[in-house]
């Protein structure tokens, strides 16, 4: 038996002799490009295979190989999968960061580390359990294929963890088999490597920590899916045919998986594609192509992140005024362009809502989970065509690129709504066609597709300088009326977009408003608060423009309403303030978190329980060691 290293901080292990089942956070601190991704996935899936929910978050750098990466897995049988501030079990694999990584493990936690690393300073603790493992030399001796040594080292830590926590061999095998579908040899060597880890722990170390896994039945029928994948699927089932995009983290995987789905599911018998995917030269071209296609009657989309949305600003304003449908996914990330491109944020809410010069306002759908990433993608195409305007789907890096445990999305049963489009027949019946006439009073006019053979079908599309018959006009009256109609149309949008989801709790004085990827953090925060006697109601916004009747009513029911978001400037709170009655606005407080890391639920708990008035800048993320490297 290898002996436990001794610490020097004199703190006692608070979890000594405790038993903690199915409720902890594992962090694998590795280096990117080293192949730890497969190991981490297999680990997560193995636990899920035991019926226990897992929520992983991959914190990765803006480079391709060699910089610190943290894979943080929340394991919780109750299904709380939001980020938690504390790390229970650390796999310290990165020589550059292990000291700091170890220092951040919770008292009572576990540190599995490469025994070559010397524990010094803050990493020398008495209040954690150490499991030193000579990963390098184990790989050296037990993995025969030289090329795979480095890669499979990662599997050794899966084996160690399996042994420490009690992951069933069958659960791992199932996970691996699924992951490496069909590659029998690969499965074998991976299983061997896992066994090396298991064996080492069994033979050389002794379990002294409180953490245990026990089989449950909480993951039956659940999927593991990334938001971008779900959105991509939504585009397929939403009938998207023209995809134009430009690579950018964290949006690339949306277009890339869409491309793969289409290749598999939208090629006709003769091998011809019922779609086209264009990797454009930049975002301006991408959105131009999407708008051109929308104008010509195809369901089109582009996906990007903040920098791309900024570049699209002029074109999107044109789309708003010329009333051209398309769908734009904004998978938000931190920062400006050379900011933190691999960190998450909800920082584009305000600038996307009002994107472009002049009086412009845009429809935004805001999925809060994987199922909505799918369903809202489907819905976005209907709305874009119904409203004849660019529709944004706002997600973020956390939702888009992390794998989430989820119930399966539902097959869409609503038929396509292609909006107000006149065919040749229609015009024959009507005897006329005026592109910008508000026939129905909802601000939405009828359009034709180019190619409609009726002699009255053609019209000329421009920005705002047109009359009802689409003729060019510089008449001030006509201009102003047209702009007012667009406002009216926006009010129609208000009635069509997904309504907020409200969970009203009797007797609650505190309301929480949030949106997007923080949903799980809110759920856990609410339960935590409820346990301390603080009742809260919850309204999850799912779109813009807002349903102000519902929102006013929600405010009216509560004494204080906390708007929780992941940006500095409280952007959604700002949008709300613009429309709220003053009486209700007075109740608004904000909880902001903008370190680039997903919102930990504790921030919300702290914000609501401790801070009375304007809770601002509550949480400064202190997790990550400073890394001095190149640009991005």
């Amino acid at each position: 038996m290898t002996s436990q290293p001794k610490g020097h901080n004199g703190h006692a292990n608070p979890l000594k002799d405790k038993r903690i089942i199915n409720d902890f956070t594992i962090e694998a601190a590795t280096v990117n490009g080293s192949g730890s991704q497969t190991a981490n996935l297999v680990l997560a899936k193995s636990i899920i295979n035991m019926g226990i929910p897992v929520g992983p978050k991959n914190i990765f750098p803006s480079n391709i190989q060699g910089l610190p990466t943290w894979y943080i897995m929340r394991v919780n049988e109750k299904g709380y999968l939001a980020r938690k501030r504390t790390i229970d079990i650390l796999v310290a694999f990165n020589q550059a960061t292990y000291l700091k990584d170890i220092s951040m493990v919770r008292p009572g936690g576990v540190v599995i580390y490469e025994s070559d690393f010397t524990l010094t300073g803050v990493a020398k603790r008495d209040d954690v359990t150490y499991y030193p493992v000579p990963f390098g030399s184990l790989a050296q001796h037990h993995i025969s294929e030289i090329k795979l040594k480095k890669l499979l080292t990662n599997m050794i830590y899966v084996g160690v963890l399996a042994e420490v926590l009690g992951i069933e061999a069958s659960a791992i095998e199932a996970a691996l088999t699924k992951q490496l579908r069909g590659k029998e040899k690969a499965i074998k060597v991976n299983l061997d490597a896992i066994e090396v880890g298991r064996k080492y722990f069994k033979e050389k170390l002794q379990k002294q920590d409180p953490y245990h896994l026990e089989r449950r039945d909480k993951t039956e029928g659940m999927l593991m899916m990334e938001g971008n994948t779900a959105s991509a699927l939504g585009c397929v089932f939403g009938g998207c045919t023209v995809v134009a995009w430009y690579p950018i983290t964290p949006a690339s995987s949306l277009a890339e998986s869409l491309s793969e789905f289409l290749e598999e599911h939208r090629v006709d018998a003769s091998g011809k594609k019922n779609y086209v995917v264009i990797q454009a030269e930049d975002e301006l071209a991408a959105v131009g192509m999407a708008l051109g296609a929308g104008w010509a009657g195809a369901r089109s989309m582009t996906s990007t992140s903040g920098p791309g949305v900024s570049l699209m600003a002029e074109f999107v304003g044109f789309g708003y005024y010329a009333e051209v449908p398309t769908v734009i996914f904004n998978v938000q990330r931190s920062g400006p362009s050379t900011g933190l491109p691999t960190r998450t944020a909800q920082g584009d809410m305000l600038s996307t809502a009002t994107l472009s010069h002049g009086d412009t306002k845009h429809v935004m759908l805001i999925p809060g989970d994987i199922r909505e990433c799918f369903s809202m993608a489907v819905e976005a195409f209907d709305l874009a065509e119904r409203l004849q305007t660019p529709v944004f789907v706002m997600t973020d890096l956390d939702l888009g690129m992390n794998a989430w445990l989820t119930k399966p999305p539902e097959y869409p049963t609503k038929p396509f709504d292609r909006g107000k489009v006149l065919t040749e027949e229609d015009i024959k019946k009507l005897g006329k066609f005026e592109r910008y006439k508000d026939v129905d009073g909802d601000g939405i006019c009828y359009r034709t597709y180019p190619g409609n053979p009726h002699p009255l079908a053609a019209y000329f599309t421009r920005g705002s300088g047109h009359n009802e018959a689409a003729a060019y006009s510089e008449d001030g009256h006509i201009y102003q009326r047209n702009l007012e109609r667009l406002s009216r149309k926006f009010d129609t949008a208000r009635t069509l977009v997904p309504a907020p989801v409200v969970d009203s709790v009797a007797g609650a004085e505190v309301g929480i408003i949030a949106y997007g990827s923080t949903d799980q953090a809110i759920a856990e925060a609410r339960d935590t608060l409820a346990a301390t006697g603080v009742k809260t109601s919850y309204m999850r916004l799912r779109s813009y423009p807002f349903d102000m009747v519902k929102i006013e009513a929600f405010f009216a029911k509560h004494k204080k309403v906390f708007v929780v978001e992941q940006n500095r400037d409280a952007q959604m709170a700002q949008l709300l303030k613009l429309e709220l009655s003053l009486e209700q606005a007075a109740k608004m407080r904000t909880i902001l978190h903008f370190s680039g890391f997903p919102m930990p639920f504790e921030v919300i708990v702290d914000g609501i329980s401790h801070k009375a008035a304007h809770a601002k800048h509550l949480d400064v993320e202190q997790k990550m060691p400073e890394i001095v490297t190149g640009g991005e």
Binding site: T229, A280, A298, P450, G451
Partner: protein, 345 residues
């Protein structure tokens, strides 16, 4: 080549010239762009293109206004400055049965739009792309554009110090499969070239010199009517014989090169001073460069590759316009859905 015909005459579709016309132009009297508009009307009428099957696209500039002045029965889209290529690409992708004609200016294409221009050429996106090239920004009152010749003078005396971007040369270099240059004042050349462009399959790029009478038609400007007339050097004389026509004249095979277009039409190139082979990319570039050096303006069908695959072909797209595909084709079945989800279990 016929003049604009009488109102009662009809083309092979039985259409008079009326639906090929558009609104009254609001450009300056004498603007080259208006002449090009007439050439477009004539070419589309004579060839017999169904107007409703055409989509007219443009950016911003005096030139970009002209789609309103032809083909009143075709849908048109006047997009933002410099982005006609992307919006056209989108429209074409949505409905590949549309004949897309894009009109742009030299500012619109060679300055703000040069990026989209380059990439459109590279993709050989099937459409007709006309640059109405006057060497200045007309609509913003006469600043130099990037196609202005070095040494050319503005009205106020300012001299252009930079080399001009030659969009025809650039187009050839980057992959456009049909590249022509012409002069608005030469209908004998411009109209057959436009018809050939209609008959072409990939990107048909036409750089048409089109003097701006208001800001660039003075002494000292290389883009004035008199000067363009002076330096215009056609590489051949051109005739277009549509697939449904029989030639009305005899062509001397020794003096005439015949280019067969994908639709069966023929472009007859009658030899002028020198031999010119428009199917030789390198030779075309060289001829342009030489004419540039000698202050000449090479016009005619500069380069053509009728066999090159266009963007839709390269992408393997279905022949059916994508905008006509119904939910049955677009939304996979519930079984497929379940199948797909299994991968994520």
């Amino acid at each position: 080549m016929a003049d604009i015909p009488l109102k009662t005459a009809v083309n092979r579709l039985g259409l008079t010239i009326e639906p090929y016309k558009g609104l009254t132009s609001t450009l300056c009297t004498g603007c080259g762009h208006d002449t090009i508009t007439r050439h477009v009307i004539q070419a589309f009428y004579e060839y017999g293109v169904e107007p409703y099957k055409v989509a007219k696209m443009s950016g911003i500039g005096c030139s970009s206004k002209t789609p309103a002045y032809f083909l009143s029965r075709s849908c048109g889209l006047n997009a933002v400055h410099g982005r006609m290529p992307s919006i056209s690409t989108g429209a074409k992708m949505a409905n590949r049965s549309l004949m897309v004609i894009g009109v742009s200016g030299d500012g619109d294409s060679a300055s703000i739009g040069i990026g989209q221009f380059c990439h459109l050429a590279r993709r050989n996106t099937p459409m007709i792309y006309i640059i109405e090239n006057n060497g200045v920004y007309g609509l913003t009152k006469g600043q130099f554009s990037a196609t202005a010749d070095p040494g050319s003078k503005l009205k106020g005396g300012e001299v252009n110090m930079f080399e001009n971007i030659d969009c025809a040369a650039l187009g050839i270099m980057l992959g456009a499969s049909f590249v022509a240059r012409s002069f608005s004042g030469d209908p004998k050349q411009a109209v057959p070239l436009l018809k050939a462009a209609i008959a072409h399959k990939g990107l048909a790029l036409l750089d048409i010199i089109s003097p701006c009478v208001t800001f660039n038609n003075h002494e000292g400007s290389t883009r004035s009517y008199p000067n363009v007339r002076k330096i215009d050097s056609p590489v051949h004389e051109l005739d277009f014989v549509a697939f449904y026509e029989t030639p009305t004249v005899e062509y001397d095979p020794g003096q005439t090169k015949e280019v067969e277009m994908p639709d069966g039409s023929k472009v007859m190139l009658k030899k002028l001073a020198k031999d010119y082979d428009p199917t030789d990319r390198m030779a075309a570039l060289q001829a342009i460069e030489q004419s540039r050096k000698s202050g000449q303006l090479l016009t005619g069908l500069l380069y053509v590759d009728t066999a090159k695959r266009d963007f839709c072909e390269v992408e393997g797209m279905t022949e059916t316009p994508l905008n006509e595909l119904g939910q049955d084709k677009l939304r996979p079945s519930r079984e497929r859905f379940t199948e797909i989800l299994k991968q994520f279990a």
